[in-house]
């Protein structure tokens, strides 16, 4: 479903030094219904990779194909259609602060053009899956970090996307909440959604026992079927 071919991303240096190579000839394929972890130190290129997949920017060289469509050729007005097929979970949650948790999740369905009936049926179901039924009408500022991240996951999966990308979703969480979030992602994967998890949490990777792609200084240094966290 997702295929990267020799993807290179170079950012110009602002202070006249050498340009920054964020990604260097990265190639790999991700199949449907796969659980893939991207690991690497901070600055290894994980976030850049996810930004390119979301078409926030284009690679300097190489191509990214999503379901056979080259993201480089996608029209500006079609970018939002592409993004509706991807659920994203951010390290800093990025919930809408002026909307309740219910509205945060319902927003995605509104974007998709779902009917009011569908929204009032689906949102409580998803809130139940992430265990936030009793927080539905609270604002994000009234929730803990773990609860916010669960709400963000609920928002990313409400519209049944083809793939969920989680960028360091446990970066701000304690070990207990980290475990809860990972469990949730595994559950989503088991229900049939592709999951791309970017993390630098050794514990998480080693307990998962799934495919691991290791990035270092913008290159893929390892791609193992049942990988472990080795840097």
């Amino acid at each position: 479903m997702l295929s990267l071919k020799n993807v290179t991303k170079i950012y110009p240096s602002r202070v006249g030094g050498d340009p920054i190579v964020a990604l260097d000839k990265v190639s790999f394929d991700i199949d449907n219904r796969e659980f893939v972890s991207l690991v690497g130190k901070s600055g290894a290129g994980k976030t850049t990779l996810l930004r390119l997949i979301l078409a926030q920017e284009n690679p300097t060289e190489g191509d990214i194909l999503f379901e056979g469509n080259n993201l480089r050729e996608i029209k500006k007005k079609d970018i939002s259609k592409l993004r509706r097929r991807i659920g994203v979970v951010f390290q800093d949650y990025k919930l809408f602060p002026s909307k309740t948790i219910f509205e945060n999740i319902a927003y995605i369905m509104e974007v998709m053009g779902a009917s009011d009936d569908d929204i009032s049926r689906d949102v409580p179901q998803v809130l139940d899956i992430v265990g936030l039924t009793d927080k539905a009408f609270n604002f994000p500022s009234e929730l803990s970090g773990g609860e916010c991240q669960r709400a963000a996951i609920a928002r990313s999966l409400i519209h049944r996307p083809d793939v969920i990308m989680a960028d360091e979703p446990t970066g701000n969480l304690d070990p207990y909440n980290t475990f809860e979030i990972i469990k949730l992602l595994v559950k989503i994967y088991e229900l049939g959604t592709t999951v791309i998890l970017s993390t630098h949490d050794k514990e998480v990777i080693n307990t998962l026992g799934k495919r691991v792609i290791t990035l270092d200084q913008g290159r893929v240094v390892r791609d193992e079927e049942r990988g472990r966290f080795i840097l």
Binding site: R83, I86, S98
Partner: protein, 302 residues
């Protein structure tokens, strides 16, 4: 499509009421802007009336020789009336001139005495001429001096009055110019302040806007609620300004009338009621919509 439209409107109202403080601040700034624009517009006719009032007081007089007959003078009057630059001609006979003089100076014994000493009526019959515009007196004066009846004319007092007339012309021109420049400057400042206020309000939501882009919302679905908020702010600001304008026109009516004779704020307000509403709501919603559109553009580039 209709569903999305409904949602955009609902989201706009919701966001407005949840951020009521910010909305109130924006409305406050907007009210000042619209009020200023309204006043500039409303007082424009007032300045015209002021200028007219000053020009009204300017005239030139033609004095006729002592032996000129009343018929000849009236003949001259009817000819002068035919000149297109002339607005009004008034005939003052010798007797009327004397009466006016006595009326004016009856409390001044010296002048009265000297009048008795002269023995006869020393005044000349005259025509007071008012031109359409202050700048036309020159032409009128030169016409009089070269006319058929120039033989019976004693003098035209245009040349003595010229400095005063010139001063009135330059003063009224300056009032108009000053008004236009002041209007433009204040208008531009007001619009910039309103734009900046809205920009700050939207900047508050900048992260939210880029997240909306990242989760796949189309540009119009994001813009829509902000435009609705812009319209709400504009309409409310327009409404509040209308009430304030009415209050000011009503409350200051007498005061303004006493300073600028012939200017009634209340009648200006009432006779231009619909135009004022149009100005206020167009300024309000226009500023709201355009400022929102410009301010949000930057954050949609994700």
């Amino acid at each position: 499509m209709l569903n999305s439209f409904k949602r955009v409107i609902k989201a706009g109202f919701k966001a407005f009421f949840r951020n009521a403080g910010l909305g109130a601040a924006t409305i406050f700034v907007m009210v000042m802007v619209i009020f200023l624009v309204t006043m500039l517009w409303l007082l424009n006719p007032a300045s015209e009336i002021l200028v007219e009032n000053i020009q009204e007081k300017v005239d030139v007089s033609v004095y006729f020789k002592k032996d000129a007959q009343a018929e000849e003078i009236l003949q001259a009057k009817s000819e002068i009336t035919k000149i297109s630059e002339v607005r009004e001609v008034e005939y003052v006979s010798k007797e009327q001139a004397l009466e006016k003089f006595i009326e004016r100076h009856k409390d001044d014994p010296t002048l009265m005495e000297s009048l008795t000493e002269v023995g006869e009526n020393p005044f000349l019959a005259s025509l007071n001429i008012k031109a359409q515009q202050a700048s036309q007196y020159e032409q009128v004066a030169s016409f009089l001096e070269s006319s058929d009846f120039s033989g019976i004319i004693d003098k035209v007092d245009y040349h003595q009055r010229k400095p005063v007339i010139d001063k009135v012309i330059s003063m009224t021109n300056n009032i108009n110019k000053f008004g236009i420049v002041l209007g433009i400057v204040l208008g531009v400042i007001a619009v910039l302040i309103a734009y900046n206020t809205i920009r700050l309000a939207i900047y508050n939501s900048s992260r939210e806007i880029s997240t909306m882009r990242l989760v796949g919302a189309s540009n119009w679905f994001i813009r829509g609620p902000f435009l609705i908020q812009g319209i709400i702010v504009g309409v409310l600001a327009g409404l509040i300004t209308l009430i304030i304008t009415f209050g000011v026109s009503y409350g200051f009516n007498a005061k303004v009338a006493s300073i600028l004779s012939g200017v009634s704020m209340m009648s200006l307000f009432l006779s231009n009621f619909w135009t004022i509403i149009l100005i206020q709501f167009v300024t309000g919603t226009g500023l709201g919509i355009i400022s929102s559109m410009i301010a949000i553009r930057k954050f949609l580039k994700v």
